[in-house]
Every structure is written in structure tokens, then in C-alpha cells.
């Protein structure tokens, strides 16, 4: 499974708009595409509509107008049964590793949930052993021990929980994984290892990522392309290298300037670069 050259985009949003009851416009006229195998980062400050955008593209929220096309099909017009089939190929990892797992379920059931939901072969008592084995493999593929499947979420650290979430997300060999701030609740060192894991899985499984983050340092590390949002609108969209070196929109430049750079020499270089660009 190598990323094929993007003939038709895997995901295409067109004129997507979400107005909540009460009149708040969370997402305003967003159009973008995500090609197979690439990582699109969505950045912006909290409240800019990033999270609403992910809920819309996962079809967990009903858009006020606009369309979401996944694999060429319009999700907003899909019948519930067909939508369920599509959900097997788009998965999500959420920000908070402490609330993203049912505290009363064991890891084997948490990671096995997508399998049980979409694969009749994994359901029922007779198939429990096989599902457990598959969960063990998945845990090992995210760097955890297969024996951990019998434990409860509260027995794990934040980084381990996020690995469990990732194992669940890749259980069905999805094409698209939406990562909603997957590392922002983690320590920097743990964060780096989770990012490495994500990159490795992308390579190995040919995954396409929509990576939502407010942390530009992280985005710089993972993104092929970057979408900058502000107040529900898309203010800039472009290749990562281009957005980081020559931001076109003043807001993007502000965001970039706000990133603390740990190395003073690099900081000086960065500053001259932005000054030269501006």
C-alpha cells in the first residue's frame, strides 16, 4: 500500500459551513482537499473552528451547507447504512487520552470495538479469542505489550493511552485518520515518540492524516500541507514549506512569530527569515 499519486482527492470539502443554533458561525465556507497518503495540518487558535471542522468531515455534525466528499461520495447525502460502511475507512484519534476511553471497558474491548462493529467475524463469544489476538497484534504495532489488553484505561499513562487510541484507529486499516490534537495533552518527550509512531504507521499503512493542532512546532514536523483557520474561515492553505517560510496571510505570520524557538541561534535565523519575507 503505497500512497498513489492523487488523481482524485480522498477527501474534498466544498463550501462547508456550520451555524450552531443561536447563530454562532463555527465554520464558514471552508473548501479544501486532502490527497491520498498526505498529511494535511489544520492549525489555528482554540475556538477557530478546527474541532467543528473535524466533526463535520467525520459527519458527526450536520453541516448547515456545503458538502463533504470522501472517496468521491458525498457523505452528507449518504443513507445511514452506507454511512456506517464508510466509517470503517475513516477513523479518529481525539485529544484527551483520559476521556477518550470508556473507563469501564478493558483495552481488549476498546481496541476491538471497531472490529466488532464492522466485522461479523469478530463478534460473539466464539470469536473472542481471535479478536483478542488481533488486538494484541495491534497493541504491539503501536509499541505496547499484547498482555496489556486485559487492563483498564486508568492503569495507563497519557502516552500509553494515546497509543491505545491509535491502535483502535488503525484496527480496520482505514484510509483516513483524523487526529484532533493527538499530542497536545502529552509531555514533549512522549509527544515526540507518538509523532514518530504516527509517521511510521503512515508509511507502513499508507494512511492519510488530517492533523489538527495549535502547536506549530508539531505541525512543522508532520505536515505536507497546512490549512490555517481563523474565526471559522480558512485564511491560508498551502504546502508546509511554503507556509512556514513565506506565510501569505498576516495572521499566519503572527502565529509563526508566536512559536517559541528553543535554540537562540535558530531563533535569530527564524526572525531574519520572517523579516525578509515580510
Amino acid at each position: 500500500m503505497t500512497p498513489s499519486p492523487a488523481s482524485a482527492p480522498l477527501l474534498a470539502l466544498d463550501g462547508l459551513r456550520k451555524v450552531f443554533p443561536g447563530g454562532a458561525v463555527a465554520v464558514d465556507d471552508v473548501s479544501l482537499t486532502v490527497g491520498e497518503g498526505e498529511t494535511l495540518a489544520v492549525v489555528g487558535e482554540s475556538g477557530c473552528g478546527k474541532t467543528t471542522l473535524t466533526r463535520l468531515l467525520l459527519r458527526l455534525l450536520e453541516p448547515t451547507s456545503g458538502t463533504v466528499r470522501f472517496e468521491g461520495r458525498d457523505l452528507t447525502a449518504l443513507a445511514p447504512g452506507r454511512l456506517r460502511d464508510v466509517r470503517a475507512r475513516m477513523q479518529v484519534v481525539l485529544q484527551d487520552p483520559y476521556s477518550s476511553m470508556n473507563p469501564r471497558m478493558r483495552v481488549v474491548d476498546i481496541v476491538g470495538e471497531p472490529l466488532v462493529t464492522h466485522d461479523p467475524q469478530a463478534r460473539g463469544r466464539r470469536n473472542r479469542a481471535r479478536t483478542a489476538e488481533r488486538v494484541g497484534e495491534l497493541l504491539e504495532s503501536v509499541g505496547l505489550d499484547a498482555a496489556m489488553r486485559d487492563r483498564y484505561p486508568h492503569e495507563f499513562s497519557g502516552g500509553q493511552r494515546q497509543r491505545i487510541s491509535i491502535a483502535r484507529a488503525i484496527a480496520l486499516h482505514p484510509r483516513l485518520v483524523v487526529l484532533d490534537e493527538p499530542t497536545s495533552a502529552l509531555d514533549v518527550s512522549v509527544q515526540a515518540r507518538v509523532l514518530d509512531l504516527l509517521a511510521e504507521l503512515q508509511q507502513r499503512l499508507g494512511l492519510t492524516y488530517v492533523f489538527v493542532s495549535h502547536n506549530l512546532a508539531v505541525v512543522r514536523q508532520v505536515a505536507d500541507r497546512v490549512a490555517v483557520m481563523r474565526g471559522g474561515r480558512l485564511v491560508e492553505l498551502g504546502g508546509a514549506a511554503q507556509v512556514f517560510t513565506e506565510p501569505a496571510h498576516p495572521y499566519t505570520r503572527q502565529l509563526l512569530d508566536a512559536v517559541p524557538v528553543p535554540d537562540p541561534r535558530a531563533a535569530r535565523r527564524g526572525r531574519t527569515a520572517t523579516e525578509a519575507a515580510g
Partner: protein, 306 residues
């Protein structure tokens, strides 16, 4: 002392139970550390055993009348005999036998009503809270209507209309008690449904019914158990009230409420006729309440790892 009992308890429940057993042991362990709750639990177990094995404990038939020994005082009072440990009532029936047999009706009504109300209330609360929309509005208005009626008054009206009988009492008390469950479950579900694990389940494509069963129900069981326990006590008292008023179960069935209403006439001359069923009623509902409170204290999954 605590060390040895702890290891003993863990070891005995560990085999074959794995991690699930460990968490349940936690709840049980915390419950056992509460001395008062242990006393209450022991009392309830004894009461249940007494209800089941009543014929083995007392030789007397609770309905057998012997007018020659009317209103005999308890054994330790002058005039009492070991034959009737708690004395006899106005028809010469053995009070100990009647109190023990009365436990059957009380526990049956209490548990039956609580289970029925819990079932109805949980289904209503889950669907109301999770599905929301017009269903939620309709169900919650229904709950308001239900609450606006005093339950005991409604029970009175229905029993008066349908006629009395053990199963009618259970049905009536069950169907008038669902609101408490529904409201608590609904409010829990309202906060649970915004949690990430529910969002992820939806994103995976898990159906609403499965989400309610797999993700929501297990997380509302703790408050449910608490309300359920307390409701058992309420239902027992309500049944006694109905029986006291003569609207509960038929006269031939032995109930504490019926005994209370018989005994009040003799309070001045033979206090024991009313006092013993009254004490049984009070102790039982007290024990259930204590257990319910203790259950609420330990039911929080994080609280028992202190």
C-alpha cells in the same frame, strides 16, 4: 487485622476474575470497611433468610387463630410464655411468625417495585438523554406530570380502582417510582454523551442502541444502584402505608402495614401487637438506607483507590 482480611478477600475472589474481579473487589472492599454498612448488610441478609426460611424458624402458622391465648405479652413479660416469644395479637396469632412472614411481602414488594421502576426509568433516561430532541421533551414533561402527583395518592387511586393484590401493589409502586431513575440517568447521560469515548464510538459507526448499552449504561449503574436501594426502602414503607389503609394486599396476606393497622387499636393495652411490626419495618428500611448511602459513597470508580 485489616491486612489479613484484605489479602483473604482478594485471594478468594481473584481466580478466574482477572481485572474485572479486581475492580469489583475494590467496591466490595470499600463497602466492607464501613462498619455500619456491614451491620446493615448482615441484617438484610438475615432478614432475607428469615423471609425464606420462616416456616423452619417458627412452628406457628401466622394465620392460625387461637382465641384462648389472645393478646399474650412477649415471653419476657409477666404472663408471657416461651410458646409465643413476641406474644400474640388480638386473634391469638403468633406475632413472631407474623413478623417473619411479613418480611416476605415487604422484601418482595420493595425489590419488585425497585426493579420495575429502575427498568422503566433507565430506559426512559437513556433514550431521553442520549437521543434528545422531541423525545426528550415529551418524556421529561411526562416525568413532570408524574412528579406533580404524589406517588402514594396515585397508588391509592389505582389500587382503589383495580382492586388490591400483591402484584398490583408492585406494579403500581413500580410505575409511580420511575421518575427518580429517569432524571438521574438522563442527567448522567447528558454529561457522558459529550465525552470523547462516545464521540469516538459514533465515529467508528457504533449504533445508538449499542452506544447506550455498551458505553452509557455501565457508567450510570453506580447511581442507579444507589437510587434503587433507597427506593426499596420507600416502596416497603409505601406498601405498609397502603396495607395500613386496607388498600394494599388482601387481609389474609400477612404484611407489616396490616399488622400496624390492627395493632393500633390495642396500643394502650397490648403495645406489642403494633410495635414489633413497626420495629421490623423501621429496622429494615434503615438498613436499606444505610446500605444505599454506603453504596453511593463507594460507587465512584476512582474513589475506592484511596
Amino acid at each position: 487485622m485489616t491486612d489479613s482480611t484484605t489479602t483473604g478477600a482478594t485471594a478468594s475472589s481473584a481466580p478466574g476474575a482477572g481485572a474485572a474481579g479486581a475492580s469489583r473487589t475494590g467496591v466490595l472492599y470499600s463497602l466492607l470497611r464501613n462498619r455500619l454498612a456491614v451491620c446493615a448488610l448482615v441484617f438484610l441478609v438475615l432478614a432475607a433468610a428469615a423471609a425464606v426460611f420462616a416456616p423452619l424458624i417458627v412452628p406457628h402458622d401466622p394465620a392460625h387463630q387461637d382465641l384462648l391465648v389472645r393478646l399474650r405479652p412477649p415471653a419476657w413479660q409477666s404472663g408471657g410464655s416461651a410458646e409465643h416469644l413476641l406474644g400474640t395479637d388480638q386473634l391469638g396469632r403468633d406475632l413472631l411468625a407474623r413478623v417473619l412472614y411479613g418480611t416476605r411481602v415487604s422484601l418482595l414488594v420493595g425489590a419488585g417495585a425497585a426493579l420495575l421502576a429502575g427498568l422503566v426509568g433507565t430506559v426512559v433516561g437513556l433514550s431521553s438523554g442520549y437521543l434528545g430532541g422531541w423525545l426528550d421533551r415529551v418524556l421529561m414533561r411526562l416525568a413532570d406530570v408524574q412528579l406533580a402527583f404524589p406517588a402514594i395518592l396515585l397508588a391509592l387511586a389505582i389500587v382503589g380502582f383495580l382492586g388490591s393484590g400483591l402484584w398490583y401493589v408492585i406494579l403500581v409502586l413500580g410505575f409511580t417510582g420511575w421518575v427518580a431513575y429517569a432524571r438521574v440517568v438522563r442527567s448522567e447521560v447528558l454529561s457522558l454523551r459529550t465525552r470523547d469515548f462516545v464521540t469516538e464510538a459514533r465515529a467508528i459507526g457504533v449504533t445508538d442502541a449499542t452506544i447506550m448499552r455498551r458505553h452509557l449504561l455501565p457508567n450510570v449503574l453506580a447511581p442507579l444502584a444507589t437510587i434503587g436501594t433507597l427506593h426499596v426502602a420507600t416502596a416497603i414503607v409505601a406498601e405498609a402505608s397502603l396495607s395500613y389503609l386496607g388498600l394494599g394486599v388482601p387481609k389474609e396476606t400477612v404484611t407489616w402495614g396490616g399488622m400496624l393497622s390492627d395493632g393500633q387499636l390495642y396500643l394502650g393495652t397490648a403495645w406489642w401487637v403494633a410495635v414489633f411490626p413497626g420495629v421490623a419495618l423501621m429496622l429494615t428500611s434503615l438498613a436499606i438506607n444505610i446500605t444505599g448511602d454506603a453504596l453511593r459513597d463507594v460507587a465512584d470508580p476512582k474513589a475506592y483507590r484511596r
